[in-house]
């Protein structure tokens, strides 16, 4: 039952790597070179052979491609693609030049494989040492079938966590490291570095922070708008969602299910569909303007500049985000709101507080206390809220023709434009890193200052 309880000194074990190297017998030490040797000696045939096979595969891989990949990493390739006239077929042909992207990708992958190999190497040492100790003490050494059986019980986490971890490594961590590397290269359409590029150190960061250049000034204005957007988007949804939820769940309201249904109905339409519809409705000749003209609220040839005036566009996206987000907030907050102790409200009513006072003095503080982690996630989500901006305004209006970002572009949509449309991969990567740093700081600061962290000490 010991593993079920949390201990202060978590997971002490005598079978560590250091002990194996210091105290291990000759067969354990030999495992350092010949992986799995210790296991084979102590009768764990299958396990030892698997380790050995792993080592062989790694060495073959390194000899065939790995070493080459690593050797190319510092220079990122230098052979240019050449065009030559092929006499035999009478066409221009291209020689195969170096492709820096692939060199970088394979290089990063090789480094990661090597890291995994080191982990496996440590594993074999530990397991050899454990087998040795157990054999010395005359205790039972697990055979392969027994080892497999532990996967269903003591080592269930290994069975359950390995497949997801493989996916995370392949589709989240590897690409991320790859992109971070790009931030330190000159991989972009500028000066035609799409095929061959080099390491440039921190130049890209310097370019982005240089506020006299177009790129630099764009960065600061986009950053400012991103933060403003994230703040308003998060809290407008939060407060509005809470008010609606309170209105629906208060005692006097009839047909609670019906009201909730009305709001949840709009969740059923996929977000991108409702956003695209909103977008078409709010165009200069769209449904809303036509309606307003017919009602005589605006002149026949006039139209409200929903996405053509910077301020209008910004307000529009925030308001529509409320429309999109409130149903979800409603669903998520209803449960928490119902958990607020009833006696708090009763006490307040006895003391003669009105609805507004109760909301600001009891509901809001209680909710902030309970939902700080939720708010942080929502804030992060909003900083990275690609869909709403991209599908709604597309970052428009672009007022400054020289810059690559429009007035409602967030860092993420700008990143998208820079990488996919403009192919400035390096600048895109730098923006990604900057977004991460900003979010990390914001999350850490709010989390550490929040009551739910201080008083409960974590999750």
């Amino acid at each position: 039952m010991g593993i079920l309880k949390k201990r202060v000194n978590e997971f002490p074990t005598p079978y560590t790597c250091m002990n194996a190297i210091k105290k291990g017998g000759i067969e354990t030490k030999l495992s350092m070179v010949l992986m799995g040797f210790g296991n084979i000696v102590h009768g764990q045939m299958m396990k030892g052979l698997l380790y050995l096979a792993l080592e062989v595969v790694y060495i073959v891989f390194m000899i065939l491609t790995g070493v080459h990949c690593l050797a190319m990493l510092p220079s990122l390739g230098s052979v240019e693609q050449q065009e030559y006239w092929d006499e035999a077929t009478q066409v221009y042909m291209y020689t195969k030049g170096d492709q820096s992207v692939l060199i970088l990708l394979y290089g990063v992958a090789t480094v990661l494989i090597t890291v995994l190999m080191v982990l496996a190497w440590r594993g074999t040492l530990r397991s050899a040492y454990k087998a040795e100790c157990l054999a010395k003490e005359g205790r039972h050494v697990n055979n392969f079938v027994e080892d497999l059986k532990t996967l269903l019980h003591e080592n269930l986490q290994k069975l359950l966590m390995t497949p997801p971890m493989v996916f995370i490594f392949l589709f989240t961590i590897l690409p991320l490291i790859f992109m971070i590397c790009m931030a330190f290269t000159n991989y972009s359409k500028i000066d035609d570095h799409l095929m061959l590029f080099d390491w440039v150190g921190l130049d890209n960061f310097a370019a982005l922070f240089d506020s006299s250049s177009i790129l630099g000034s764009t960065f600061w204005s986009v950053l400012a708008w991103t933060l403003v957007w994230a703040f308003f988007a998060t809290f407008s949804n939060y407060i509005f969602g809470m008010i609606v939820s309170l209105l629906i769940n208060r005692k006097g309201t009839r047909a609670k299910g019906f009201w909730r249904f009305c709001f949840v109905l709009s969740c059923a339409v996929p977000m991108f569909v409702s956003l695209l519809i909103m977008r078409t409705m709010l165009q200069p000749e769209g449904a809303v303007n036509v309606l307003l003209r017919n009602l005589g609220l605006i002149a026949q040839d006039a139209s409200l500049p929903f996405f053509t005036d910077p301020t209008w566009a910004r307000v529009t996206v925030i308001v529509i985000n409320v429309w999109v987000g409130v149903p979800y907030t409603l669903l998520q907050l209803t449960g928490v709101l119902q958990n607020i102790p009833e006696d708090l409200y009763e006490a307040a009513k006895v003391d003669g507080a009105n609805a507004v006072q109760i909301f600001f003095k009891i509901t809001l503080p209680y909710m902030l206390y309970v939902t700080t982690p939720y708010l942080i996630t929502t804030f992060t989500g909003n900083v990275n809220n690609f869909n709403v901006i991209y599908l709604l305004s597309g970052g428009d209006p672009v007022t400054d023709l020289g810059s690559t970002a429009g007035k409602t572009d967030l860092l993420v949509t700008w990143l998208y434009k820079l990488t996919i449309d403009k192919q400035y991969y390096n600048i895109g990567a730098v923006i990604g890193i900057m977004t991460f740093i900003i979010l990390a700081i914001a999350a850490l600061v709010t989390y550490h200052n929040s009551k739910s962290y201080k008083e409960e000490g974590g999750f």
């Binding site: 593993i3 019980h153 966590m161 609606v244 209105l247 569909v273 695209l276």
Partner: protein
């Protein structure tokens, strides 16, 4: 005197109630309006995206018929099947990953537990598709960027990061008393049996919630599909198809079909959502009675 007081309090309550109901009515109208508008547009006989009346002048089913039969320009049935295939398989994979990871993090204590949770938090702070280009290169290197393999690529991408979103399910598993597990172990259960025979059946709301969200992610995703499919129009998902219908060259002739398509893909989600609403709320607030 006292009667009058009660009377005025009653009146006051009546007024507040009416005001609240009126406000709710207006809000509900605002939220329902676009939905109704889409449904009406999908039955509209006049083509084009700009109309001067809210209610269509005449109704027709042609939009649906055209959407499902006219496969020359935008092959909607094909897109529908593509999306269904991708969504179902990545839903199965992601649901398993999320539940497995959440169970391990909630019930088991192992060395990588804290590091894993920290890693998930850090990875969550990076913009999701900052690595999109890199993912594309990796898929290309694996040979998954052409033909039918694109579907496999999309399934892998959608379920790739799934196990990082364990927080909600973990929070739910945390509310199941440890005593349940301990008793089972005394009775000779392995942890695998606890997971499949005790924890999962006890956690129906969160299983449903996880399945639902994992299905909806790929079902409505637009951006990854667009980047990975590129010009392979036979692999397009519904989202790309609908987006294309609103592009300048198609919008005038396809706008009402777009609305019809929107209604069609909303129906499964709406049905699921209404059915799962109860679970959705329960799942988030964590409500297993031990």
């Amino acid at each position: 005197m006292a009667g009058q007081k009660i009377h005025s309090a009653k009146r006051k309550r009546f007024i507040t109630n009416s005001v609240v109901h009126v406000i709710l009515g207006i809000l509900a109208l605002i939220w329902v309006f676009p939905v109704i508008w889409v449904v009406l547009t999908s039955f509209r006989a006049e083509q084009g995206s700009y109309v001067s009346t809210f209610f269509p002048r005449s109704y027709t089913l042609d939009n649906y018929i055209r959407l499902l039969t006219d496969t020359t320009i935008l092959n909607f049935p094909q897109m529908f099947l593509n999306t269904l295939f991708i969504a179902v398989f990545s839903c199965i994979l992601s649901t398993f990953y999320v539940l497995a990871a959440s169970y391990c993090l909630s019930r088991l204590r192992f060395k990588m537990r804290k590091p894993y949770m920290n890693m998930a938090m850090i990875l969550g702070l990076f913009p999701g598709f900052m690595s999109m280009v890199a993912v594309y290169f990796i898929l290309k290197a694996l040979g998954l960027s052409e033909g039918n393999l694109i579907k496999l690529a999309l399934i892998l991408v959608y379920s790739g990061g799934a196990a990082l979103g364990f927080q909600i399910a973990k929070g739910f598993f945390d509310t199941i008393p440890m005593a349940v597990d301990e008793a089972a172990i005394l009775d000779g259960c392995t942890r695998w049996q606890i997971f499949t025979k005790i924890t999962l059946p006890l956690s129906k709301p969160i299983v449903v919630y996880t399945t639902l969200t994992s299905f909806m992610g790929p079902w409505v995703d637009f951006i990854f599909a667009k980047v990975i499919c590129r010009a392979n129009s036979d692999q397009y998902t519904i989202a790309i198809g609908l987006w294309n219908m609103l592009q300048k060259e198609y919008i005038d002739s396809w706008y009402t079909c777009f609305a019809a398509g929107a209604v069609l893909i909303s129906i499964p989600i709406a049905a699921l959502f209404l059915y799962m609403q109860r679970y959705y709320v329960d799942g988030l607030s964590g409500a297993v009675k031990g």
